[in-house]
């Protein structure tokens, strides 16, 4: 497969994913837009996968330093993003008026 064909393949994946993203995201309740942003932030930290490869294959000192830094930064978003999303989502509760405190 030529490089050009590969890019076209990627482009198809991108277009499908983008349209899927648009239709899924527009259905997210506006109430949850902040958790949505922290969750997508964690998901886009998927670049940790690429960073791991660069930090691990040790092609040059520079690349290893850059890779390790990228692993740390992206993984900070993975850990932080999922944790804070969960912290926020835990707070959204439906409560019966009868169960009100006081």
């Amino acid at each position: 497969m030529s490089l050009f064909d590969q890019f076209i393949g990627h482009l198809y994946v991108f277009i499908l994913a983008a349209f899927l993203g648009l239709s899924v995201i527009t259905r997210v309740s506006p109430m949850l837009h902040t958790p949505l942003m922290s969750l997508t932030n964690a998901i886009s930290a998927i670049s940790v996968v690429a960073a791991i490869e660069i930090a691990g294959k040790q092609e040059s000192t520079l690349a290893t330093i850059l890779g390790t830094t990228a692993v740390a930064l992206a993984f900070a978003n993975v850990v932080g993003g999922f944790m804070i999303t969960d912290r926020m989502l835990k707070m959204f509760k439906k409560r019966e008026p009868a169960a009100a405190k006081h």
Binding site: M31, M88, F92
Partner: protein, 484 residues
């Protein structure tokens, strides 16, 4: 057992034919699982009842992808990877655990900066590996890599600027100078030109740092002229950029999981920034290049001094007690005053008396999309009482009391009829249509956008001057005392 054997045979045959080995198949499988998990994760976020499940499936997807990445056969050493993972946990976890909910916008801006920098660094590392170790990059890959690094680097510094503005390290007001937009475009043009030269001749490695510097400079210049009130849009836009740079990285590295995850994030940020723009009746270009909130000289408007009616918390409590329905309109001022827990007390008191209390949430209330809902949920206000603008606007004419707490521009009727108002055309909450309007405000000083609000001069409006937390607390106390 026999299945496994067959699979092993197939793999062996495949390896001989130059196809990927078992390890590679496993890695690929984890990536496919991760892709599915991410999509389900966002799908389940559609409602608060399934949202936590969505978050968990997202975590599973991420764990699968990371395991898959760790098992890649070209990894020869794990010490630096583990160092990175430990460092990342040490940065990320404390920020997530102890960050107060009012500071979530800053945290989000900061994490966009981290994510974008990570993307830019991966791109940079890939470039130098290709330049120093090989194999050399072709023109197309190089062009995409340049765009990826450009986007990553500008999002990094841009997000830091947004962080600074939200954290109030930097001035909230737009920072502008003469010919700013031309200068910005010049810098962007230079960065793009550097990218083009690099794509044509990838061996000109000395141009690469120049590209990085120009992109970072452009990121700073792009965000400093944007005012604090526009931060919800800016955060959403930077979210989109961070996603797109991850996506482009997928193109460079031929990794379709990165393309999918990046596209999802890019789409999310894009949708949110469009929602924010619509909620303020502004266009993208206007947000980015308009320097809004800069000089609201308010040349027009009535010159005569108008009077406002000022009330006490006792009066407010009496009116609300007698009401059948109360709609509370919270704004960022409520969060700044940390009044949300006192608002909950008042909510409880009123609900106990059978008063129907709802919250009207404007899309731009707070400092990032959906921020106000999180703040109210934190104060344990049931989420079915948080109503979006379009749904609740029809209820104001039948509502007895509209209580505005720390909100201003989102209830300014001038947006509906005053063509000279800078916020003309912006969709607002129709608080003025309620029988009685109460507004808690520190003073008559105009709000974030610097525009005077005619709502406060209306006949049915009563002003409650003071700190939001103190005023709400004394209203709640009045209500509690009256109940005894």
């Amino acid at each position: 057992m026999s299945m496994l054997l067959t699979l092993a045979e197939v793999v062996e045959a495949g390896t001989k034919a130059g196809s990927p080995d078992l390890q590679q198949i496993f890695s690929t499988a984890t990536y496919i699982i991760a892709g599915i998990c991410f999509i389900l994760s966002l799908k389940w976020l559609s409602s608060p009842t399934s949202a936590r499940r969505g978050n968990i499936v997202g975590e599973i997807g991420m764990a699968a992808a990371i395991i898959g990445a760790l098992l890649q056969h070209n990894i020869i050493s794990y010490e630096w990877i583990i160092t990175g993972l430990v460092l990342g946990t040490l940065i990320g976890a404390p920020l997530a655990i102890w960050m107060p909910m009012t500071a979530v916008p800053q945290r989000t801006a900061f994490s966009h900066a981290c994510g974008a920098l990570a993307a830019a660094l991966v791109g940079t590392a890939h470039f130098y590996i290709a330049a120093n170790v090989g194999p050399a990059l072709d023109h197309t890959t190089m062009a995409i890599l340049c765009v990826e690094v450009l986007l990553g680097a500008l999002t990094f510094t841009g997000s830091l600027m947004a962080f600074g503005k939200l954290q109030e390290i930097l001035p909230q007001r737009p920072i502008t100078f003469k010919g700013q937009n031309y200068f910005n475009f010049l810098i962007l043009g230079l960065a793009l030109a550097t990218g083009v030269v690099l794509s044509i001749n990838p061996s000109m490695t000395m141009l690469f740092p120049l590209l990085l510097v120009l992109a970072m400079l452009f990121g700073v210049l792009l965000i400093i002229p944007i005012g604090g009130a526009d931060m919800p849009t800016v955060i959403a836009l930077l979210n989109s950029y961070a996603g797109m740079s991850a996506c482009l990285m997928g193109f460079v590295l031929h990794n379709q999981l990165l393309i999918i995850a990046g596209a999802l994030d890019g789409a999310s940020g894009f949708v949110l920034s469009i929602i924010m723009c619509k909620a303020m009746n502004r266009s993208f270009t206007n947000v980015l290049f308009g320097a809004f909130g800069q000089l609201q000289t308010t040349a027009g408007g009535p010159g005569e001094k108008r009077t406002v009616r000022s009330g006490t918390p006792e009066e407010a409590a009496q009116i609300m007690e007698a009401a059948q329905s109360v709609i509370i309109i919270p704004g960022y001022g409520m969060a700044v005053a940390q009044a949300q827990h006192k608002v909950r007390e008042m909510f409880d008191q009123l609900t106990k008396r059978g008063v129907d209390v709802k919250f009207a949430i404007h899309p731009v209330a707070g400092r990032m999309p959906g921020h106000m809902n999180v703040l109210l949920a934190e104060a344990e206000i049931p989420y079915d009482k948080l109503i979006e603008m379009d749904e609740i606007n029809g209820e104001f004419p039948q509502c007895d009391v509209a209580l505005v707490i720390g909100a201003n521009d989102v209830v300014n009727p001038a947006a509906r009829h005053d063509k000279n108002s800078p916020i003309y055309g912006m969709p607002i909450l129709d608080a003025d249509k309620a029988r009685t309007v109460m507004a808690i405000k520190r003073s008559m000083k105009p709000g974030f956008a610097g525009i005077e609000n005619e709502l406060y001069f209306a006949d049915n409006c009563m002003m409650l001057f003071g700190d939001a937390k103190a005023v709400v607390a004394s209203v709640a106390k009045e209500l509690a005392d009256a109940a005894k």
